[in-house]
């Protein structure tokens, strides 16, 4: 982590969506460090930049390779992955190690809320309460961050 912000890698093959996501990331005070549009680009950038958080679409320029990219980013680069996809039902049960998923089509507000929430989770190591509407956490991360516990004082 650089200072008190999070470094964010965007993995999305629709450039207009990616550009808008960059605006949102900066608006909530996070630092966008790069954009990848395919599995190989994602892995290469993740290795080089070691982002704290990667926003990953399932369908990339080289096919439905986002799941594989997510697993590599999580396991090899130590980054937290958040899926952003219209294919929520087709994700593997363990979410390929990702912390959670936002379903498309999402609103700017839902993404802002989710990023602000994840920032607290990652910086404090525990959730400030249950996840906001629009964000579904994986069971592993619910336990890891105590997101099923009542609001902390």
């Amino acid at each position: 982590m650089s200072g008190d912000t999070l470094e964010v890698l965007i993995v999305e093959d629709e450039i207009l969506l990616a550009t808008e996501l960059q605006f949102i990331v900066r608006e909530v005070g996070l630092h966008d460090v790069g954009l990848a549009m395919s599995r190989d680009e994602a892995i290469e950038l993740a290795k080089r930049l070691t982002p704290d958080l990667a926003l990953v679409d399932v369908h990339l320029q080289d096919g439905p390779t986002g799941v594989e990219a997510a697993r590599m980013i999580h396991e090899d680069c130590g980054g937290v992955v958040l899926f952003m996809t219209a294919n929520v039902q087709r994700l593997p049960e363990d979410l390929a190690g990702a912390c959670g998923v936002i379903g498309k089509p999402y609103s700017e507000e839902a993404v802002c809320r989710a990023l602000a929430y994840l920032r607290v989770c990652m910086q404090e190591g525990r959730a400030p309460g249950p996840p906001p509407v629009g964000l579904t956490l994986s069971p592993e991360y619910v336990a890891h961050w105590g997101a099923d516990l009542p609001m902390s004082a």
Binding site: E14, T19, F23, V88, G103, P105, Y106, S107, E109, A110
Partner: protein
């Protein structure tokens, strides 16, 4: 001869069942593909409007584009929820309202406006989901934008089941209706869509504030 006939019948049946299974699998895959494309294209439209609105200097024009974006987001929220449960024919109105109200309240950037939800479970046929979503969007957005100029307030959203279907109420305790009774584009949309939904619309003085009630009848679900 008769022996061969006996042997063939179960085999033919097995082939038929396999063909049916394959056809069903293909149809399901196709539905997923179309669903995926609809969602992605709605996201693309929303992102285009967002990017455009960031570039507009004139505040009134920007608000107009933001208004269109909100409507697209409301339709997007419908599609995010369609096909999610096991039942593709029915649409969970209460869960949708919870989802959309949260988004609109956050988007209004008004910490001084409280939102109160009291939602009994209610469902609609999926084909009526988008028009109802647009009605709900206009009513909530209208309250958030116009009811509380420079003052705090409360917006209540209530879904209550009735013998005919359900009543959806959006009520604020703000400044009340403008003297002309409100003739904006938003209200026009609400009136037209209620006509399409065969819903009764009642907008009344809540003293203080405005109460809008949409009485949605439910046809027997076939």
């Amino acid at each position: 001869m008769s022996e061969i006939e006996h042997a063939d019948a179960p085999a033919a049946e097995g082939t038929y069942a396999r063909e049916l299974e394959q056809a069903l699998a293909q149809k399901t895959a196709l539905l997923h593909e179309v669903d995926h494309r609809v969602k992605n294209n709605l996201q693309l439209i929303a992102s285009l409007l967002q990017l455009q609105s960031r570039k507009i200097a004139d505040e009134a024009t920007r608000q107009t584009v933001r208004g269109i974006l909100e409507r697209v987001n409301a339709i997007g929220a419908v599609h995010r929820r369609l096909f999610q449960g096991g039942d593709v024919q029915r649409f969970d109105v209460s869960e949708f309202v919870r989802d959309l109200a949260g988004d609109l309240a956050a988007g209004a950037r008004r910490e001084d406006i409280q939102l109160k939800l009291d939602l009994e479970p209610a469902a609609l046929p999926a084909s009526q989901a988008a028009p109802l979503a647009l009605v709900v969007n206009e009513l909530i957005a209208n309250a958030l934008k116009h009811a509380f100029p420079g003052q705090p307030g409360l917006v209540s959203i209530i879904i209550a089941r009735t013998p005919e279907g359900f009543d959806l109420t959006v009520q604020d305790d703000g400044v009340g209706m403008p003297p002309d009774g409100g003739r904006g584009f938003g209200l026009t949309i609400v009136q037209l869509l209620c006509q399409q939904l065969k819903a009764k619309l009642r907008i009344e003085d809540a003293a203080p504030g405005v109460r809008a009630v949409v009485s949605q009848p439910l046809e027997r679900i076939v």
